[in-house]
């Protein structure tokens, strides 16, 4: 085994991770986590041409997509949420799905324009749209750029024809390359996804495929290990033994190889599965991981938004801004019905308790190489970090080289990143 730290950090930043930490601070504005910080806006488009067998996202296949109805409903719900949130600066907009590249560009343009009207868009606002690299969708990229999108996330998944078919993708490797080249010409920022640790994939094959992908990459990549999710097509195949995933040891070796190859191209793992050149991190996704405010619009979308204290609460000890967890109805048509009737499709909105906030912030923040600033943690959750972790486990995790706690920051080291789920399970109270 080579120095494990290359798995999680750029080689140049090995010693203290100083540059990584600096890099991150330039991305966001301030510490985040209150009404004064910028808001991340997520818009969910729930339709796909086909359901991929690994995917458990809230995506649906329809004979004909009701474009106009859903575009209108998304705009209605956005307006409703904006009215509740009050004036905020929006730092990022993310069109996710489903397959938002199936949206009419005019609808995307309208939603961006609405957001600009209802909120204030930050001057450098990151506006990302997820797209599939089929020829039809690639042909609309220019229209999406004209609609205001400035960053595209392409669902490439693989550059290997056999595996693309296994993964149920609708595009070929050639189409993926063509879409990437076109996107690079059109957009200042570009990222794409690959899925690895596929059934039967060897270390050498993956390295070769990843190198080819890195040659096509701009400044950001999401490299996910294939996982079997409940309720997916792969789950049944996996249970029956028809597909066999690499074991943990192989998975660990693949993860390490991935980080090495990415580092060679100057991309650091700033999150468990996300790699970027310094400064090119996904601003939108950082909002999730840093646990700052994000609003979720559309079927099944989740949000974490600060609701200002209205002052009407009669319990003085409960005064103060609340952090609300919001969730929209998952079923697209039910959601749309509700939006049309009530202006929004919210099924739940819960004020999170301090301990819930603390747990969530740890679960998300320790995925980031930069870790969690303890002062920010206290400000966001109302609790000291020590109140949210098991001290014994923390001590042992530090001794084992899984975690580092220094200068008021707790962060995950490469050996810890490999085992983060188990670590969080033991660490978080």
């Amino acid at each position: 085994m080579t120095d494990a730290s290359v798995r999680f950090y750029p080689l140049a930043c090995n010693a203290r991770n100083a540059c990584a930490a600096r890099t991150f601070r330039t991305v966001g504005k301030g510490l985040g986590g209150s009404v004064t910080d910028s808001l991340a806006l997520y818009i969910h488009w729930p339709f796909c041409l086909a359901k991929c067998p690994y995917c458990d996202f809230n995506s649906h296949v329809r004979d004909r997509i009701p474009q106009a109805r859903f575009a209108a409903a998304l705009r209605t719900e956005l307006a409703w949420e904006a009215a509740r949130l009050g004036p905020r600066e929006v730092g990022s907009i993310f069109f996710g799905g489903g397959t938002p590249s199936l949206m009419e560009p005019a609808a995307v343009a309208a939603l961006i324009a609405d957001a600009a009207r209802l909120f204030t868009l930050a001057p450098d606002c990151e506006i990302t749209l997820e797209a599939n690299p089929t020829s039809v969708e690639a042909g609309r990229l220019a229209a999406f750029r004209d609609a205001g999108v400035n960053r595209v996330s392409l669902g490439v998944q693989s550059l290997n024809e056999t595996d693309l078919r296994l993964l149920g993708r609708q595009h070929s490797a050639d189409q993926a390359v063509a879409a990437l080249e076109m996107a690079r010409r059109l957009f200042p920022r570009l990222t794409f996804d690959l899925i690895y640790a596929r059934p039967g994939q060897t270390l050498d094959a993956w390295r070769a495929e990843l190198r080819a992908a890195l040659d096509l990459a701009a400044d950001h990549l999401s490299l996910y290990q294939l996982t079997i999710e409940p309720g997916t097509g792969f789950e049944a195949l996996h249970r029956s033994g028809a597909i066999v995933l690499p074991d943990n040891e192989t998975g660990a070796a693949l993860y390490q190889a991935t980080a090495e190859e990415a580092a060679r191209h100057g991309m650091a793992a700033y999150e468990i599965s996300n790699y970027a050149r310094p400064g090119a991190e996904s601003r939108h996704n950082l909002a999730y991981w840093r646990y700052t405010d994000y609003a979720g619009i559309g079927p099944g979308a989740h949000g974490r938004v600060t609701r200002p204290d209205t002052g009407s609460d009669t319990h003085p000890d409960k005064r103060g801004d609340t952090l609300a967890a919001t969730r929209r109805h998952r079923a697209p048509e039910v959601w749309a019905d509700r939006v049309e009737a009530d202006g929004h499709g919210t099924t739940r909105e819960d004020a999170l308790t301090p301990i819930e906030r603390g747990r969530e912030m740890l679960l998300m923040g320790l995925r980031l190489a930069e870790g969690i600033d303890e002062a920010r943690f206290a400000a966001r959750t109302g609790l000291a970090m020590d109140a949210c972790v098991d001290h014994d486990v923390l001590g042992r995790a530090i001794d084992a080289g899984y975690l580092l706690r220094e200068s008021g920051v707790l962060r995950t080291l490469p050996e810890g990143a490999l085992r983060l789920d188990a670590l969080l399970g033991a660490l978080v109270v």
Partner: protein
């Protein structure tokens, strides 16, 4: 029905190996004498406990009173005594047999005599029983009645020429069995005018009646309202009900000599009624109790701990409820650093242990961890004081021990000679000493003396597997003998796990220590931190294994801001931990723990 002359009474039991058809024959006898209508006939009427039905074994003795009009024109009262069918209940069996004058020896006409049959038939002979051999399943193509008759004569030494040939399943020649009972069994002997003596055969708890005592009257009479005394226990009770089983309970006015039936006397727990005790009249007591009373003493102990610590009280209540009906099982509170609060429980044998554990799980819905079974050692200290030890955790430091005695058993194993070699090897590996080795046709009968300690470590499972299930095994407690015994401690990350420590012979200690360390290494899943597992005698480590940290466990994709889902996963993870046991700082899944305890060297 209470004044039945003894000449018209026949009391009998049925001796059979499991599956040789004892319960089926009993059912047929009940059916053909009309004691129960065909409509109410459920298969195996007598085995009322769910567990008994499932395993085909009888735990409690039961009786049925049958009326049979014989060929001689007289109507006889036949009392069928259904005895517990396993060696663990040998004493209970002996008391059931003492209540009868004869036995039906049921042998499967294709399988022949088995070890268990042999032990029981010897007990019947010891009880002076007239024995009527019955060859069952004669309708099966594989039946070899002549060969099996010969085997009965050779092995047991009784005349099998008049064996009754039947098929209990199809009902062939049940009449022949009934006639044999009447003509070949002696009637009971007793004096109605003598002071009362009645044998306590068994007892059980009934939620409406309190304890129901199954009795056999020897002399005198038992009447409702009578004040009786338990001669061994010394307690007195007033009889509330006297009755017989037909097989339903039917009250009668009194029971005279030679009769079997039940009494109730507002007794709250079976612990107040000792099997084998003699009931006599309090005002006119007998001078001498019936022979053969022995208090029941557990021979195998193990710790039972609730998986969920919150279930401790439920476990206590459940054990108390079980003991209401089974005085032979003992329990005392125990606390373990590893397993928390639980009970140290004593049993008559391994089957008894298994039955109780299963009943706790099944009837009381408890999730339990059982520690390795331990026998009762006698530890003599250097100061000359001897104490019994049934928990390895309580073993004193080696420096103060002068010597340790351990219990030995006398085991009878019957096995087709093809498998004899491995069986003898197994016995020798387990420190066995051969007492006898004889052949009956192609079946060998090996009699061995073995330390019980070696038998509780899955001897029976091994025996079954090396003989492909053909070996039958039976044992009786023998005596105590000094042994070179040591306690092996298991340490997880340097912390001793009290519940995993065990006592073994010094020569086997290293192999067993290595085996359990290896097993734990395979059973304990890799965890967040690496784990050291050691076996040690005193301070000396004899085996060591390391479980490396798990190599990878991380969710690749954390998407869409749905943290609630991640939080739920975390909650689920924490819920899963409740099913783990903390050993030091290591979580061991309960399944691994159970499997580790089922180890074999």
């Amino acid at each position: 029905m209470t004044d039945t002359p003894t000449a018209l009474i026949r009391n009998f039991s049925i001796i059979a190996h499991i599956d040789h058809g004892k319960s089926t024959l009993a059912d047929r006898l009940i059916q053909s004498t009309g004691a129960i209508s065909a409509r109410d006939m459920t298969a195996q009427v007598l085995d009322s406990m769910e567990l008994e039905k499932e395993r085909g074994i009888t735990i409690k003795a039961q009786t049925v009173r049958l009326a049979y009009k014989a060929h001689d024109g007289l109507t006889y009262t036949l009392n069928l005594m259904d005895t517990p069918g396993h060696v663990d209940f040998a004493y209970e069996v002996s008391r059931s047999l003492a209540a009868c004058e004869g036995s039906l020896l049921v042998v499967d006409a294709s399988q022949g005599v088995e070890a268990q049959t042999l032990a029981n038939v010897y007990q019947a002979i010891e009880a002076n029983h007239e024995i009527v051999p019955i060859l069952n399943k004669i309708d099966l193509p594989a039946a070899e009645p002549e060969r099996v008759k010969q085997q009965i004569e050779d092995v047991i030494g009784i005349d099998a020429s008049d064996a009754v040939m039947i098929s209990a399943k199809t009902g062939i020649n049940i009449e022949g069995v009934l006639e044999a009972l009447v003509t070949r069994l002696p009637p009971p002997v007793g004096d109605a005018d003598a002071p009362l003596t009645a044998l306590v055969v068994d007892s059980w708890y009934d939620q409406y009646l309190g304890v129901v005592i199954l009795i056999r009257v020897k002399d005198g009479r038992l009447k409702k309202g009578q004040k009786v005394r338990m001669m061994a226990q010394g307690s007195t009770h007033v009889i509330e009900q006297v009755g017989v089983f037909t097989p339903g309970m039917v009250q009668v006015d009194d029971l005279g000599p030679g009769e079997m039936g039940y009494i109730t006397a507002a007794i709250k727990t079976v612990a107040d009624v000792a099997v084998g005790d003699t009931i006599t009249d309090d005002r006119r007591p007998a001078t001498k109790a019936l022979p053969g009373f022995k208090p029941s003493i557990p021979v195998v102990w193990c710790g039972l701990f609730p998986v969920d610590a919150d279930d401790f009280e439920k476990l206590r209540d459940s054990l108390a409820k079980l003991r209401l009906n089974d005085a032979s099982f003992h329990f005392e509170a125990e606390s373990s650093a590893a397993l928390g609060f639980g009970y140290r429980c004593g049993f008559l044998g391994l089957l008894h242990l298994e039955i109780i554990q299963e009943r706790l799980t099944r009837e009381f819905n408890l999730d339990l961890i059982a520690t390795a079974p331990s026998v009762v050692y006698r530890v003599t200290r250097t100061n000359g004081v001897t104490a019994e030890l049934h928990n390895p955790a309580d073993m004193p430091d080696g420096s103060v021990i002068d010597h340790i005695d351990e219990p030995w058993i006398k085991a009878t194993i019957m096995v087709p000679d093809d498998y004899l070699g491995p069986v003898l090897t197994l016995c020798n590996e387990r420190r066995g000493r051969q007492v006898d080795l004889t052949y009956v046709g192609t079946r060998a009968m090996a009699v061995y003396r073995l330390p019980l300690n070696e038998v509780v470590f899955d001897f029976y499972d091994r025996l079954k597997s090396i003989s492909r299930g053909y070996a039958s095994f039976d044992y009786a407690m023998d005596n105590y003998e000094e042994g070179d015994l040591v306690r092996i401690s298991i340490l997880v990350n340097q912390d001793p796990v009290d519940a995993l420590s065990f006592i073994a012979h010094r020569n086997a200690a290293e192999a067993r220590g290595r085996s359990i360390c290896g097993k734990l290494k395979d059973l304990i899943p890799k965890q967040l931190f690496k784990i050291a597992i050691q076996a040690a005698i005193g301070g000396r480590v004899i085996a060591r294994e390391t479980i490396g940290a798990l190599s990878k466990d991380v969710t690749a994709k954390c998407y869409g801001g749905d943290i609630s889902r991640k939080r739920k996963l975390l909650d689920k993870q924490k819920e899963g931990k409740k099913r783990m046991r903390q050993f030091g700082k290591v979580e061991i899944p309960q399944s691994a723990f159970l499997a580790a305890l089922k180890m074999d060297a």
